[in-house]
């Protein structure tokens, strides 16, 4: 059997990967050197690297406070997404009148940008008394349609007989969700965690609108404030970007296997 060698394919992929990584390496290098991006000739390796721009970021703004705020909001968002999306996903696996209409409604709602719904969202948050709170910041993304469908796809792959057996044993629906379905859907959970975390972590517009207290700000708001405080922003700005990126990157790398499995669950279902 004539098998073609793999190395040209791998070499091409490696070259493409290296190309994709160039912007990240550039950001990392600039954060260590403060080198202007228009420096000519450009160098691949950093010249005289140091970590002082990271120190500038840490002390110029209350970085730790913003970090804690971002983490608290992300924890609320991730927890709520797992609970609510699992329940919604389970509901969509059941048969009921108007199921198709609800799915169509969900799919069509995905096409509406958040900016369109921002005024009603603000008014609802205000009526609930959640302006300037962590819960208020988390509210609009406590359940997301994409993640509901991720759970639905994962639950669809669970044999119906298992649900029937649980029902015969007398388990109510909420126990079937959290004791039977969710433990069997680790990839869907990982996908929910990653997506919800990244959406929450990078959220700028919504916190900008509902947060008035400086100490309640999250990292993306801190970044905009940082730009107004620091005179020479090149190195420190890139250092800030790395510090904001790092937690999301670590979480993605840790759970990437489950994340990819979660996105492809049900893809081959015929």
């Amino acid at each position: 059997m004539n098998r073609s060698p793999h190395w040209p394919f791998h070499l091409t992929l490696s070259a493409i990967c290296a190309l994709m990584l160039v912007p990240f390496i550039w950001v990392l290098k600039t954060s260590l050197t403060g080198e202007n991006i228009f420096t000519y000739p450009p160098s691949v390796l950093p010249q005289d690297p140091h970590l002082f721009y990271y120190v500038d970021v840490w002390y110029t703004i209350p970085f730790f406070r913003y970090l804690i705020n971002s983490f608290l909001v992300s924890i609320i968002v991730v927890t709520a997404n797992i609970i609510f999306n699992a329940m919604a996903g389970y509901a969509l696996t059941r048969e009921f009148i108007g199921k198709r209409a609800i799915i169509m409604l969900f799919l069509s709602c995905m096409m509406i940008p958040f900016q369109v719904t921002i005024i009603p969202a603000y008014l609802i948050t205000k009526e609930l008394g959640l302006l300037n709170t962590y819960l208020g910041m988390a509210l609009p993304i406590m359940s997301t349609i994409v993640c509901i469908f991720v759970f639905k796809a994962s639950f669809d792959a669970v044999p119906k007989s298992l649900i029937d057996a649980a029902r015969i044993d007398g388990l109510p629906d909420w126990k079937i969700i959290f004791k039977v379905m969710v433990p069997l859907s680790q990839s869907a959970i990982a996908t929910n965690i990653i997506l919800a975390f990244i959406w929450s972590w990078n959220n700028f517009l919504w916190p900008l609108i509902i947060i008035r207290d400086q100490h309640m700000q999250t990292l993306p708001l801190g970044l905009s404030r940082f730009l107004t405080v620091v005179e020479d922003t090149t190195g420190a700005l890139y250092a800030f970007c790395i510090m904001v990126l790092l937690p999301g990157l670590v979480i993605f790398l840790l759970a990437q296997r489950q994340f990819i499995a979660g996105l492809t669950t049900g893809a081959a279902k015929g």
Binding site: H50, L51, F52, V55, D56, Y59, V229, E231, V250, L254
Partner: protein, 125 residues
């Protein structure tokens, strides 16, 4: 079972992160007395006694002096208790001259540091 709970990539990653943070904070606790010492010399590397060394902080608009000390007979100076992380040192002596402003960057506020290179006084022109 217990092994898989405690030894996995999540616990190892977060465990290492927390350990590094704890060790760093311990290092900071024992090295943040704000001691900054160094030496003032002339162009022939001879110590300059009785020179004034000014420690300044650069803000967005101005360079604001925060502290000043006088060198001893051997040209040594020592600041204590500063709470800065980005500062400037400048030495001068009335009948002699002054040094250029030297930028000092520290990894945390009040980090103890001994300057490797002395401040070099240049004669008044």
């Amino acid at each position: 079972m217990l092994r898989s709970v405690f030894i996995n990539r999540y616990t190892i990653t977060f465990g290492i992160t927390i350990t590094i943070a704890l060790l760093w904070n311990l290092f900071v606790i024992f090295n943040d007395s704000g001691i900054l010492s160094g030496r003032v010399v002339d162009q022939n590397n001879q110590p300059i006694g009785n020179a004034q060394v000014v420690l300044s902080e650069k803000t967005l608009l101005v360079t604001a002096p925060q502290d000043q000390v006088i060198t001893d007979a051997e040209g040594y100076f020592r600041f204590e208790g500063h709470r800065l992380y980005h500062l400037y040192l400048e030495a001068s002596k009335d009948d002699w001259g002054s040094s250029s402003s030297q930028e000092i960057r520290l990894y945390f506020k009040g980090q103890n540091k001994t300057l490797k290179e002395p401040l070099v006084l240049e004669p008044n022109s």
